[in-house]
Assembly symmetry: C2
Homo-oligomer: 403 residues x 2
């Protein structure tokens, strides 16, 4: 019997059509291999290639000039070919983190055929790996561990304001399904420009971060709602009618007040369909970049809705947008903040990297808050406008909620 199944497995391998065809690319190669000392070895089989390189956010950075300015980008490192045609590169010891990388084969960027783990960021897909050293570190927090797991659902909710059924991702904490009476607080977690309802659950590792923080007793069990902030679409690319279109950075109605005004549709759906504590003190909202902008304006436009507000590298912008909904959502922000802060939110949290292109806008906003005596918590990291920072901010923000 064992023999039969070994043969069957081989057949099935062959039969998975061209996917397994005898071309160079992955067969029997282990890549990336995370070594016991947390160096990482990458391998790529390409006997006939002239030059194979690797780049990734585990490498040191260099300055890249663009027409938009100068940016820090990872260097490109040369890989070495062995006598079997396999190219190899071993990194330095890496700190706990989720990293992204690509190979460059004779100047063409390719994915690692030995690594099925990839994450989409808007319209590009990149291989990832996680390094962890010990329980509780960043890599541990972003990984799946031997802890109870929450349930993750893709839910279609009704948005009467937008006249659409729309898709969102909902995390319910471990125990939710078996605890028919307990009611939970809710965190609304918003993506940035080009993102969608998949961004926080994939790039953001939201369900892993929540599972792990809850298991360590560092976070209250909570429901996390990840809506789609692009009011011109029902759902993420590929999950809405129109086929497998390329995801776009630009959307109609971005940051014109429409999403902010329609937000109660989401809260209403959640509070009608989940066992939640439907009170200001049990509602939090936060988001990255455009989602920080949304969080700022939703929480000030609806000052009785959220007691916890988190701005992660928030796109804080002038609010005199011609054609935008200045009459309602963005108009008189100072007045709105006055009302919001007079109600003493339990937490107003601002996080940003010191190399972020929005650093100055955030510093100016903090000055405004300082000048009026509004209380907030500030958390500054290195680096810029990156998912690396947003995962850190989520990990820092969540333990402060609903205490």
């Amino acid at each position: 019997m064992k023999k039969i199944f070994t043969i069957t497995a081989s057949l099935l391998l062959c039969l998975s059509a061209f996917a397994q065809q005898a071309l160079f690319g992955g067969a029997g190669i282990k890549s990336p291999e995370i070594n016991p000392d947390n160096t990482v070895t990458f391998r790529f089989a390409a006997p006939k290639a002239i030059k194979v390189q690797i780049t990734g956010d585990f490498l040191p950075t260099t300055k890249m000039e663009t027409k938009y300015g100068t940016f820090d980008v990872p260097v490109v490192a040369d890989m070495k070919q062995d006598d079997k045609g396999v190219w190899e590169y071993t990194s330095d010891t890496l700190a706990p983190e989720l990293y992204m990388y690509s190979f460059i084969v004779d100047e063409i960027k390719v994915k690692d055929p030995s690594n099925v783990y990839m994450i989409r960021d808007v319209n590009s897909v990149t291989n990832v790996f996680i390094v962890s050293k010990e329980k509780g570190d960043r890599g541990y927090l972003y990984g799946v561990n031997e802890v109870p797991h929450g349930m993750v659902s893709r839910v279609w909710y009704d948005s009467p304001s937008l006249k659409m059924k729309r898709r969102m991702t909902v995390y319910t904490p471990p125990g939710y399904e078996d605890n028919a009476r307990h009611k939970y607080p809710v965190l609304y977690l918003l993506h940035g420009m080009g993102g969608d309802e998949e961004a926080w659950i994939s790039l953001g590792r939201a369900s892993q971060i929540l599972d792990n923080l809850i298991a360590e007793g560092k976070a209250e069990p909570m429901i996390v709602v990840m809506p789609n902030g692009n009011v011109d679409e029902e759902a993420a690319a590929g999950e809405k009618p129109g086929g497998f279109a390329q995801p776009s950075m630009q959307h109609e109605g971005m940051m014109d007040g429409t999403f902010e005004r329609s937000f109660p549709d989401i809260v209403k759906y959640v509070e009608n369909h989940y066992r939640v504590i439907a009170k200001k003190s049990s509602r939090a909202i936060c988001g990255l970049s455009m989602g920080g902008f949304h969080s700022l304006h939703i929480s000030s436009y609806y000052p009785d809705m959220f007691d916890y507000v988190g701005l992660f590298s928030a796109a804080i912008m002038p609010n005199e947008s011609p054609g935008a909904d200045t009459s309602a959502v963005y108009k008189n922000l100072d007045e709105k903040l006055k009302v919001q802060f007079s109600k003493k939110p339990k937490l107003y949290w601002i996080g940003i990297g010191n190399a972020d292109f929005l650093y100055k806008a955030n510093a100016d906003y903090r000055k405004k808050l300082d000048s009026t005596g509004y209380k907030y918590t500030y958390f500054e990291t290195g680096e810029g406008h990156l998912w690396k920072n947003w995962r850190i901010y989520l990990s820092k923000f969540v333990p402060s909620l609903f205490k």
Copy 2:
């Protein structure tokens, strides 16, 4: 304001680090482009490449000799380079279908950097696209259309038999969330060897097929439960502790009776946590390959559980497995079938491709059923042991359920 956001978007594009670095690979290229006549154009920017080719299951096949036998595999077609360094290939007019393809650049298989849509099959990831001609065709059935959508959840259920919390994918039909009294029938949908609880929802397009069939009035609204049939793991690769390990074709305890015996854990969880009709006439089970084997044995070992059974390219095997659980699950299959068929199941459905390496085993099994007068429905397609066939079988099987 519009200008500010255009600049911001550009900045964000730049800032998504090396993902957007100015290397060849995808920028501004549309690929694949599905033309109005359902030919498909593929493009790949590689100014310095010597030869760029494409292979995929939309191409004609050729015979490939392997040590396991001769297989039909798609041919490799040459692409043509234009004066800007972009390689292009346009297919013939394609029939409605979900297709998979890869580029081969100077003998290295690479993914299409302009196409974020990829599906994992065990341990390889391949680009996909869908061709549809009209409503109701195969491409339409596998796509997201303007119809109500069900909810898809990743659920952790308790399996006392396996002493694990295990992950499964659950589809609840449109309306389930808003219809607090209605009870639904349940289809248990099982994957094959190397698969997991993600296989049917990704490769199998199960939620799209169900949404579309339900919207057309061709299928009863039903819950679809997609468990993980590998008893040595809690969840799919990457979703279980142990990091981002390569998914494996082989698992401990495959087809040794353990999964079949433990199946009531799943049914019990579903019936305790969802609004279901907990009756034989409202339970169906089906699966592909190993999942067909599982469906055969679960339904015969528990003859009062399922009124609908579907075997899709089932791995029908001799049941005298030394070391396997012959004492219970597989032993005396003929006796078990006698009991099962004496209870007149409403549907016993067998589907297989005429080029499947399991064709003979299935023909022999049908002979056995014929010789005893047991009623079943048989559906034969062309081609072999392929997801293409399993999506067709699901689309054919589901409309027959719970009528």
